[in-house]
């Protein structure tokens, strides 16, 4: 009983780490330009494909794990960042002063375009591709009779490192302070000498790099990738961002882990005809609806009332 609970908790944390990484991209871009970038899920997918490309076409057979993993991650990040920066430059920037619905619709268009581009032009991408299972070895016991496989441990560790690094960057660095200032008051940020265009590009760039980490993590965790993987993961991560409070970086992390754990627990413990894996997306989105009805500002709340 306890073993099962701890096991599911661990699974929820792994899932939550991936949601949180993607949610950070949604929340940073939203915080700065109030755009829900619905194509962000596809950036996650392209990150996974970038990592896969390095493995398939660049690395020689039998490359050591310690060389292969960082190079794959780097490849995924480069692909994701390049696409995200181009997307901002050519799809969103021309609409900077347009009514808010215009960039939102554009985001949906970009999302479909990216999915189709990968499906049509990436070799063999019409069906699922087997992602290499590089991290092997016996599961690691975590107490109470539960255990987690080694890939999951790596996923959680790398995710947490990324989140801490991002928080430090935003709080301590000059560019991070510029991002905070722009999020709070863009016109006044310009009066400080901050180049807003660069801040916006930086928010897309950081979000894409984190999404690439998540994309590769999902490949390692599930053992397969496909051109559609960004759709549902993107929606879930968006849910996580709203759950935590959109625009709030800590909120995205809390929301991601909360959503991952709730989803796993719902599948495990809801009995009868609503139980089981088939209903997991339903519970995730039901949670979104509940949050929107009862606490629309999210768990950590978008703090808006202090503009004196």
């Amino acid at each position: 009983m306890l073993t099962q609970f701890v096991q599911q908790l661990a699974n929820g944390v792994v899932l939550g780490a991936m949601y949180a990484l993607i949610a950070l991209g949604y929340t940073m871009v939203y915080g700065i330009i109030q755009l829900i970038n619905f194509a962000h899920g596809e950036i996650f997918m392209i990150g996974a494909f970038g990592a896969f490309t390095v493995y398939r076409y660049i690395l020689p057979d039998g490359t050591s794990l310690w060389i292969a993993l960082p190079l794959m991650l780097l490849g995924g990040m480069i692909a994701a960042v390049a696409v995200a920066v181009a997307m901002e430059r050519f799809a969103y920037r021309p609409l900077r002063n347009a009514p808010r619905l215009a960039p939102l619709i554009t985001a949906i268009g970009v999302s479909i375009a990216l999915q189709e581009a990968v499906r049509l032009y990436y070799p063999d991408a019409r069906s699922k591709l087997a992602f290499p299972q590089l991290i092997t070895g016996s599961p690691i016991p975590i107490g109470f009779g539960a255990s987690v496989d080694r890939a999951s441990v790596v996923v959680v560790l790398v995710s947490v490192i990324c989140m801490v690094a991002l928080t430090l960057f935003v709080r301590r660095s000059r560019m991070g302070r510029a991002m905070q200032a722009t999020a709070q008051d863009p016109d006044t940020a310009r009066l400080m000498g901050i180049n807003i265009d660069r801040v916006i590009v930086m928010s897309f760039l950081l979000g894409a790099a984190l999404a690439a980490v998540a994309g590769m993590a999902q490949g390692l965790y599930l053992g397969q990738i496909d051109f559609r993987m960004g759709f549902i993961a993107g929606l879930k991560a968006f849910t996580a961002a709203v759950l935590g409070g959109i625009g709030n970086i800590q909120g995205a992390v809390v929301g991601g882990f909360a959503l991952g754990i709730v989803e796993v627990m719902a599948v495990q413990y809801i009995p009868g005809q609503f139980g089981g894996g088939a209903w997991k997306d339903v519970w995730a989105f039901a949670l979104l609806i509940l949050v929107l009805v009862f606490r629309p500002q999210g768990l950590l709340g978008e703090r808006v009332a202090d503009r004196a």
Partner: protein
């Protein structure tokens, strides 16, 4: 001698509506110049255009002899023109110290920035006492001090202050105006926009009266204080 700031036939439009309809004025080095006028006269619009937040519909702006109309806002600060905006606009969720650091965003001289932060705390001791406090929790007057301190952090050659006394208690208003006088005494060149015409004209070397986007009067500050038209319209006398 070229003026520090020369504005020539400046026009600014919101959509098709002209808010500033061809105004010209100058600010010489070391002067305090004030723009006064009622709501909607175009004072704030003029400052926002000078600092690059708005693009002019026509006319020219020269700062230190160089045209800056059409230059992006973040480049204009770099040239030495700082703007403390109407409504203060401090960054509410950052500390006082972080707000001041953002004022020095373009500076690379860490030691100098540290000295100037200390100078801001000397000028406004209340800010120094609360340096780690979120700026959004300050009172209106304290926020105004922070906004002025932040604008000074860029080491501007011309400081533009938009309605520094707006919404403040009479005591706080007096304190802010005393600070403006101190800055003037230290040789700071200031372009001051105020609804409190009495206070602004008392300080100013030169004043311009704006009405619905046009300059209707200009003179020395003291002369405008004694002008019948100004006394009736802006100083509440009949």
């Amino acid at each position: 001698m070229t003026a520090m700031l020369e504005v020539d036939d400046l026009r600014v439009a919101y959509g098709t509506i002209l808010a500033v309809k061809g105004i010209s004025f100058r600010v010489e080095q070391g002067q305090v110049v004030t723009l006064i006028g009622g709501n909607g006269a175009g004072k704030t619009t003029t400052l926002r255009t000078l600092s690059g937040l708005l693009k002019p519909a026509g006319g020219q702006i020269r700062f230190k002899g160089r045209r800056i109309d059409g230059t992006p806002a973040h480049k204009i600060v770099e040239l030495g023109l700082a703007h403390s905006p109407e409504g203060r606009h401090i960054f509410p969720r950052m500390t006082i110290e972080e707000n001041l650091l953002l004022g020095a965003y373009l500076r690379r001289d860490g030691a100098g920035v540290g000295r100037d932060i200390q100078r801001a705390y000397d000028l406004f001791p209340v800010l120094g006492e609360r340096r780690k406090q979120a700026a959004g929790t300050l009172s209106g007057g304290e926020q105004q001090m922070l906004a002025m301190g932040r604008a000074l952090m860029s080491q501007p050659e011309l400081l533009m202050l938009d309605e520094p006394s707006m919404g403040l208690s009479p005591i706080m208003m007096q304190k802010i105006m005393e600070t403006v006088a101190e800055l003037k005494a230290a040789g700071t060149t200031i372009l001051l926009v105020e609804q409190n015409a009495q206070a602004a004209l008392t300080l100013a070397d030169r004043g311009y009266v704006l009405e619905t986007g046009r300059i209707v009067l200009e003179d020395h500050g003291q002369a405008l204080l004694g002008n019948d038209q100004v006394r009736k319209a802006y100083l509440g006398e009949d």
